[in-house]
Symmetry: C2
Subunit: 681 residues, 2 copies
């Protein structure tokens, strides 16, 4: 039986007392870090850059961050402080009492004492931040599914004793052209009181011009919606004022299901092996979402942004919700059996978008609110991908777009306004540093950047958590522990550029380097990236022939996917590559291009767009046309099962080769200086 403790390869902070899991929002980056380091240190070790010009001396106040969550359950501010260490006197210089209450800390003063979810406000983000779950401006007209209408009625009289609902419906038709309205039972129950308290002047909240979901006495105030992006690891929610479309707050939390397994497959397994597994995962997720909603309604917001007005949002004021997630998150949320997602032919239970009453789902927003669940494209391509397409709009472009949304599993979208196809590709965990001989997550001590001298084959590198490269350090000071995804990609590229590895990915026959050897125990060829004395693990850190194959397979998988899709569509060249999601934040897009991970494309036409799924979810919240568009996308984006292509295996094998040197230099030209730091001499 797969319980969380049965997955030794995916430890969390709670399983290892000496480290803790830390997640940074809005980037979504995460990692295990040693207990006791500061949050700024932790951020650096994971590759999140927080502004800290004073170097942690508590004299600039630039590193102000917000502790969102101190543990998986909800204990409020106290637990946030416990997990982020005691309050330092110096912090009060820069953090107001109300900010303190909201969880603000100085990143240089707060320390990691347990699992943490940290929000890095815009002001504290250093320039390098690429992927952002922060809400970026959307190019949509604000036309939400839920709107408010102010209306004044005549009270019924003996001459005209028509009932309240019909008076209201008639007036709404007359004044606003709303026809054949229905009314939710909870709104109907409240109708009489609202009319009485409002002196027959009320504000009516209407869903999709079809159903009255709320009637409030008096003139309109603000009404809110929540766009929720349910990721496998983190959940981000954008609280928006619906009339203006403005984002009031970005809330986030760890997905409470993480305890049942870190990836989608282990969640599905958990369901299959536990009779109440689905129920538990769904309940935990909904409980978590309700905590987010609680969070939103326990804060004060300044709204409108340029006003001095503080508003409080009650849960009942949240009258619309849109939800995007991958198919597994979708099924688990709705308590739909996710088993078929994991079994051939991987069919989801439903593609279409769904509208489900909040009270039926157990979400503690307005009970009459409809939860709009974004549609699924295919068994492995869910509503989050629909969200990406909604946000990036390849189906509205003349130019051919390729969207790559890659994690452990990759989703690919190719096309333009004429046709759109999607597919998924199994990249394996190598790109995240897993199943690699000396691989590790992007955490302190991981080699994240690396060069190999083409002549001497000497290695220079930088580890996470330490600024100076090896060539500027005493070797013993490096405390290297392993190599993370970006380091491995660098290593493969550099080994090839140095001629240690040939086009096929095999080590060259004639090796002059002292770092090359055949492991006597395993008989596998390997190259030493770091010698024992430089490491904190006391042994050489190597990259093996198998590691190189893993990386080649991953990049070949993506490349083959893209290539076969291009062939399927009869497309020779890509006009634009969009890298969505966490992938772009972990790996350098240019390097990926160099290694032949992506099809040929001018570097300037490769962009990383951050949390496009969340953006699309927000678009569906704020523009009802986008909901129709979402369903259109889900049904018109053709799913292509690449493994069914007869030459899939051959293509994959061919793609395993590293591109020809001249092609690589074409890409590197003008870029190398920034991307690959020159070794100082």
């Amino acid at each position: 039986m797969a319980t969380p403790t049965d997955i030794p390869s995916l430890p969390t902070g709670r399983m290892n007392a000496k480290t803790a899991m830390i997640i940074f929002q809005p980037s979504g980056r995460r990692g295990h870090v040693p207990i006791g380091i500061t949050i700024v240190e932790a951020s650096r070790s994971i590759g999140v850059d927080i502004e800290a010009p004073c170097g942690g001396k508590q004299v600039c106040g630039k590193c102000k961050i917000r502790v969102e969550q101190g543990q998986f359950n909800k204990f409020g501010i106290e637990s946030r402080h416990i997990h982020a260490g005691p309050w330092q006197p110096g912090e009060s210089e820069y953090i107001l009492p109300e900010e303190k209450e909201a969880g603000y800390r100085l990143g240089c003063s707060a320390t990691v004492q347990g699992d943490l979810l940290i929000y890095v406000p815009e002001a504290a983000r250093a320039g390098k931040q690429v992927v952002s779950k922060a809400a970026r401006p959307l190019d949509i007209s604000i036309d939400p599914a839920v709107k408010q209408y102010e209306i004044e009625l005549e009270a019924p009289t003996l001459e005209d004793p028509t009932g309240n609902f019909e008076r209201l419906a008639d007036a709404l038709e007359k004044q606003y052209g709303l026809k054949a309205l229905h009314i939710d039972l909870s709104a109907l129950r409240n109708l009489q009181d609202a009319l009485g308290n409002g002196g027959w002047q009320v504000t009516v909240t209407v869903w999709m011009d079809q159903e009255i979901v709320r009637v409030q006495p008096g003139p309109a105030s603000y009404h809110f919606g929540l766009a929720i992006d349910i990721g496998t690891t983190t959940v981000a929610a954008y609280l928006c004022e619906l009339a203006s479309g403005q984002v009031i707050d970005t809330l986030s939390m760890m997905n409470p299901q993480v305890k049942y397994g870190e990836d989608v497959v282990s969640r599905i397994s958990f369901h299959m092996e536990n009779p109440d597994g689905l129920q538990r995962m769904s309940t935990d997720l909904i409980k978590g979402l309700n905590e987010l909603i609680d969070q939103a309604s326990s804060k004060e917001y300044i709204f409108p942004p340029d006003s001095a007005k503080a508003i409080r949002i009650r849960a009942a004021d949240i009258v619309d919700v849109s939800v995007a997630g991958n198919t597994a998150m979708h099924h688990i949320l709705l308590k739909l059996d996710p088993e078929p997602l994991g079994v051939i032919p991987f069919a989801p239970t439903v593609h279409h978008s769904l509208n489900i009453k909040a009270r039926e789902l157990g979400l503690k927003v307005n009970p009459a609110a409809h939860i709009f669940i974004l549609p699924n494209e295919a068994g492995f391509v869910g509503g989050d991908n629909v969200g990406v397409i909604l946000a990036e709009e390849p189906h509205r472009q003349d130019q051919v777009h390729l969207i790559i949304d890659v994690g452990t599993n990759g989703e690919l979208v190719l096309g333009n306004k004429d046709r759109l196809i999607c597919s998924s590709c199994a990249t394996g965990p190598a790109l995240e540093g897993a199943q690699i001989e000396c691989g590790m997550r992007a955490a302190p001590g991981a080699i994240e950047r690396l060069t190999i001298d083409p002549k001497t084959h000497e290695v220079d590198y930088k580890v996470i958590g330490r600024d100076p490269w090896l060539s500027y350090s005493e070797p013993q000071a490096m405390n290297t522990k392993g190599v993370c995804g970006s380091g491995i990609l660098d290593a493969v590229a550099q080994l090839y550029l140095a001629g240690v590895v040939v086009k096929s990915g095999a080590f060259a026959k004639h090796q002059i380097s002292s770092r090359f050897r055949k492991n006597p125990a395993t008989d596998i060829k390997e190259f030493v990236l770091a010698w024992g004395p430089e490491t904190s693990i006391g042994k050489d850190i190597v990259i093996t022939q198998q590691d190189i194959r893993q990386i080649q397979l991953a990049k070949a998988s993506i490349y083959t996917g893209c290539k076969l899709m291009m062939r399927k569509m009869g497309v020779a060249a890509i006009d634009k590559i969009i890298v969505a999601g966490a992938f772009g934040s972990h790996i350098d897009c240019t390097l990926a291009l160099v290694l032949g991970m992506f099809p040929d494309c001018a570097v300037e036409n490769v962009v990383s767009v951050g949390n496009a799924a969340g953006d699309g979810c927000r678009a569906a919240l704020l523009n009802r046309g986008k909901r129709l568009e979402a369903d259109w996308i889900s049904r018109h984006t053709e799913y292509v099962e690449l493994t069914l292509e007869e030459d899939f295996q051959r293509q994959l094998m061919e793609a395993i080769h590293i591109p020809h040197m001249t092609d690589i230099f074409k890409h590197l030209e003008g870029i190398v200086p920034q991307q690959v730091p020159k070794r100082p001499h």
Copy 2:
């Protein structure tokens, strides 16, 4: 605070240990009867005729009845037997063990030991039974809102991994033309299993060609619906097989709200005086309805009727429900504030029909079923009246119809296919024997029939519970206790025919009768109907000038209502009078016509139709067009507030007069012999 015990004028069996409330179905007749009498005796005392040719000697078995409910809460068969007395050995001769388990008893052997709800099967009903809550054949085509479709799907493949819902929806569109189907979440959750267990052959239950509410593996079996008529005192439910429209069972129970007050006004008061009053009444009603549903699913039925197949119905097999009730029952069921119904201008919260999910209302049928709530016409004219119109169809007739549905409150409908108006009239409780000097409910000892000799002014009468009239009895044997509604009507008519009372309703100036006197204590004129020695209360039973006024007011109220509606519509004569509901079963329609309670109409064109509200509710269950028609009726039946007519008071005063003698004789011709038994000489 009005609690049940605060309503001394409305005792129930539980408040008075020596009597018990007994209700007979399908007639709906009820009354308090002494503990210990047999059910046949009780039936006679209330005017329900059960066949008992052998006179209660347990030798014919004709009086077989079913004990439906022994008390308000549910204890099953045991409690039924407790309230109906111990099983008599002689009963086993005529009642099979399985019938015994179902609650069957001999009416001559079972006794009243507590509150009882008795169902009189068709076979045991004596000829006089008029009003029937039993299902009469409806002249409608069977086109239910919920239908089943058998379908076989291709399993998804890698080539076509479309999701199950879309496969299903596409197949249903292809094979049955059902477009743009939605699916209920609970049905969606079950979809995968149903397809798996059915080998991709399933039966799909669809509501209104819009929403899939159920998916079952394999070929179709029966599916059922429930038409529920929620009366103020009793609830009747018709369990129907939806494909054939056949009534499988008629279930009934006391409305559990009776304990909060016997009439609509006291229920509304209970709500207004108790913060949780509405909640309690609603919850009790829903609990009661769930007990009815339990009943239906704990029995075995022979279906189809001419087969030898016994079927059991699970609650989940009940996939559609229609509900009709007066506006107060409607509002209380839905937890809508009923207060406005009792306050000027008496506007209901909503007129339109509603569709509410069973799970939302807490009804334990299939959770995805929609409960169709019949629409309201006006504050005093509810979905039960819409049901009456649906069943009687005045809006489809050329002839002008007048429908009178009178209890404590009366509802009137007038018109034909060109126009339909409705109104309500307050008749007061006199017609039920309340607020009358010696009035009582239709119970043993109540004078129910009466003649007055025009010359001698001697009175002959019959009491409930005793067959021989006074003239055939020793006066002491009569044990007269009072006079019930029908007796009072008789008395007024006979006093007028005998010249004791004049056209105005006043006692004639010159009285020769020894029975006429002025009460020395009250100074009110009265006429003795029964002398002390004939009574069991030891004092004279009289009808006072005030009593006559009460009756005159009630009949004037109905008559004025009818008359003003006729004027409103410009109608001089009525083609047909339809008397609906319990009224027709309590009072002789011809006598009512004689007294001027109804407008002029040929006697043969006055019909009593029984539970037309229930019939209409069943029509809505079995024919979806009737649902649209119900909404059409509720919006196109113009409500007329009669009290707003400027000459309302004058008309009412004029109607108080008793019609001219020649008019009366016109009506009595050829009818008197049957209606007024000739005094034997």
